[in-house]
C-alpha cells in the first residue's frame, strides 16, 4: 500500500474505502483520486462503504466526501462508519478485478432485473442484444452468431459463436452453457478466445472472471 492515507478494499459485504487518520480534507480528496485511478477498471455504479478512521475529519467534511464520490466517480456511498484502529483483513490483499467484481455484486442483484428468453437457436449472422439484464437461450448460439447481455448469458444448448456478458462493465456477470465452445467470450472488458480445436466436454460449464483477473472456465455444478 504505497499511499496509506486512503485504501479501496473489497470485503464480503462490498467495497470499502478506508480513510486513515489525521489528515486535512484536501489531502484525503487527493488520495482518493490517486487510489481510484490506480484501479484498472471502471467502478461506475459500485457501492462503497466509507470506513473513517480519521478523527480530524468533521461531519460536514464526511458529507462533502460522500457527494464528491457520487458526482465525480459515480460511486454510491452505502454508509459512513467511524472505525476503531482495528480493521479486519480484506478478502484479497490487492483489490483484484475479481474481488471488486464480487464486492460490486451487492449492487447488481440478478433477481431484481429483467431477463429475456430466446426460445430458439441463434444462427450465423443473427444477434441478440439485451443490455437491461440477462439472456437465456433455449437452443444453440452458432458460429457467426452473437449474443450480448448486460447481465449473464445462459445457453441451454451449445455456445459456438460470440458471447459478451456484462456489456455495461459488470464484471460479476457469468456465461453458462451446456456446451461451452465459443469462438470468443467477453465479460465486461475481458476477452478470451477459443483454443484451437477445442472439443466439447460433454458437461455444462461456466465462464467468469477469476481471482487472477482472467476469464476462467470450469464445470458448472451450481451457482
Amino acid at each position: 500500500m504505497a499511499n496509506s492515507i486512503v485504501a479501496l478494499r473489497a470485503y464480503r459485504d462490498g467495497l470499502h474505502l478506508i480513510i486513515r487518520p489525521h489528515l486535512s480534507i484536501e489531502e484525503v480528496e487527493e488520495a482518493i483520486q490517486q487510489e481510484i485511478s490506480r484501479m484498472n477498471q471502471p467502478l461506475i455504479g459500485a457501492s462503497v462503504q466509507i470506513d473513517l478512521k480519521c478523527p480530524t475529519l468533521k461531519k460536514e467534511e464526511a458529507a462533502y466526501l460522500k457527494s464528491k464520490l457520487q458526482e465525480t466517480y459515480n460511486l454510491t456511498v452505502r454508509s459512513i462508519e467511524a472505525l476503531d484502529e482495528q480493521v479486519p483483513p480484506p478478502i484479497a490483499a490487492a483489490p483484484t478485478t475479481h474481488a471488486i467484481a464480487q464486492a460490486m455484486d451487492t449492487s447488481n442483484n440478478r433477481e431484481s432485473e429483467p431477463s429475456r428468453i430466446i426460445p430458439y437457436t441463434i444462427r450465423s449472422g443473427q444477434t441478440e442484444n439485451f443490455p437491461q439484464g440477462s439472456l437465456i437461450i433455449y437452443g444453440d448460439v452458432n458460429s457467426g452468431a452473437e449474443v450480448r447481455a448486460g447481465g449473464d448469458i445462459v445457453v441451454l444448448g451449445a455456445l459456438r459463436g460470440n458471447a459478451h456478458a456484462g456489456i455495461n462493465g459488470r464484471l460479476s456477470a457469468v456465461v453458462i452453457a451446456m456446451d461451452l465452445v465459443p469462438v470468443q467470450l467477453q465479460i465486461g472488458n475481458f476477452i478470451s478466445r477459443r483454443p484451437i480445436n477445442q472439443k466439447s466436454r460433454g458437461y455444462p460449464e461456466i465462464a467468469r472472471i477469476g481471482v487472477e483477473d482472467v476469464i476462467i472456465v470450469e464445470k458448472f455444478v451450481k451457482f
Binding site: R123, G125, Q126, D140, G144, R160
Partner: protein, 264 residues
C-alpha cells in the same frame, strides 16, 4: 399443383448446380415432370451441367421483358420425358430481376410441373432473394467443412425468416475415409449444428467432374455412388421413405446414429 424448391447454400462451389441438375433429371427418370430454373443470372452454369447449352434461345430475362412466352423459353431435355430447363441470362446481372418477377415465373411453372427446382447463386444478396422468392421449400447444400456449414447456417436463418418450410439438407462431397481417420466432420456433427432434416448424403465422386464436363448428369450412370445418392434423394422428394444408408467407413456406433437420423 407442383412444388417449388430452391436449392441454395450460402457458400459458393458446394454443389448447388450439380444437385439441381441431378435431382431434376432423377425426378424425370422417376416419371415426374420437372423444370430446373437457373437463377444465377450473369454466371449461369446449369445449362452446361445439363448439356443443354447449345439449345438455349430465350432466357427468363426475355420472359420478364415480354420478349417471349414462358413456355417458349423452356428448353426440353430430349434424353428423358418431362424435363425442361429455364436458363438465366448471361448478359444481365442479378439486380435486373425483381423477386416478384421470379415469384410470378415460379407460380406459372408449378401449374405445369410436379417439381420446380431453382438453382440459387451463392451469397445472401439479391440473387438469393430472387431464387427463394417463389419457393415453398428449400434444399440447403453443404460440404462437411466449417466455413460451408457456417454459411449454410446463415442461409437457414434467412429461409426460416422468410417462412420457407421444410428446409432439407444435402451433405455433399462426403468422404467416408476422411471421416474414418478423424479429419472430416461426420454427419452427426453437421446435423447437431444445423438442426434441420437430412435428405441425403452425396459422397465425393470423381464421376461428378467428368459428367459435368460431358454435360450428362451423373444420374444417367447407374453404378456411380453419386448417382445412387441423387436417385435416393429424388425418391425421398417424391415422398418415398428410404433410409439414409451408412456411408461411413465402419462402426456399429455410426450405424445406430444413422438409424435414428430423421429422414422422410
Amino acid at each position: 399443383m407442383g412444388k417449388v424448391i430452391v436449392v441454395t447454400s450460402g457458400k459458393g462451389g458446394v454443389g448447388k448446380t450439380t444437385s439441381t441438375a441431378n435431382l431434376g433429371t432423377a425426378l424425370a427418370l422417376l416419371g415426374k415432370t420437372a423444370v430446373v430454373v437457373d437463377a444465377d443470372v450473369g454466371l449461369r452454369n446449369l445449362d452446361i451441367v445439363m448439356g443443354l447449352e447449345s439449345r438455349i434461345v430465350y432466357t427468363s430475362m426475355d420472359v420478364i421483358d415480354k420478349q417471349c412466352e414462358l413456355s417458349k423459353a423452356l428448353v426440353k431435355d430430349r434424353r428423358v420425358d418431362g424435363l425442361t430447363l429455364l436458363a438465366a441470362s448471361q448478359k444481365n446481372n442479378k439486380d435486373d430481376i425483381q423477386p416478384e418477377q421470379m415469384k410470378a415465373i415460379c407460380a406459372k411453372l408449378r401449374t405445369t410441373h410436379d417439381f420446380v427446382l431453382v438453382d440459387s447463386p451463392a451469397g445472401i444478396e439479391r440473387g438469393f432473394s430472387n431464387a427463394s422468392a417463389g419457393a415453398d421449400e428449400a434444399i440447403v447444400v453443404t460440404t462437411p467443412d466449417v466455413s460451408a456449414i457456417r454459411d449454410a447456417d446463415r442461409i437457414i436463418g434467412l429461409l426460416q425468416h422468410a417462412g420457407i418450410e421444410p428446409i432439407n439438407l444435402i451433405l455433399n462431397r462426403f468422404s467416408p475415409q476422411l471421416v474414418g481417420n478423424g479429419s472430416m466432420m461426420d454427419q452427426a456433427d453437421v446435423l447437431d449444428i444445423l438442426n434441420i432434416d437430412l435428405i441425403g448424403i452425396v459422397p465425393e465422386d470423381s464421376g461428378v467432374i467428368t459428367s459435368t464436363n460431358r454435360g450428362i448428369p451423373l444420374v444417367y450412370e447407374d453404378a456411380s455412388p453419386g448417382s445412387q445418392a441423387y436417385m435416393r434423394i429424388a425418391r425421398r422428394l417424391t415422398g418415398q421413405r428410404i433410409p439414409i444408408p451408412d456411408l461411413e467407413e465402419k462402426g456399429f456406433l455410426s450405424n445406430i446414429v444413422n438409424w435414428f437420423t430423421r429422414n422422410r
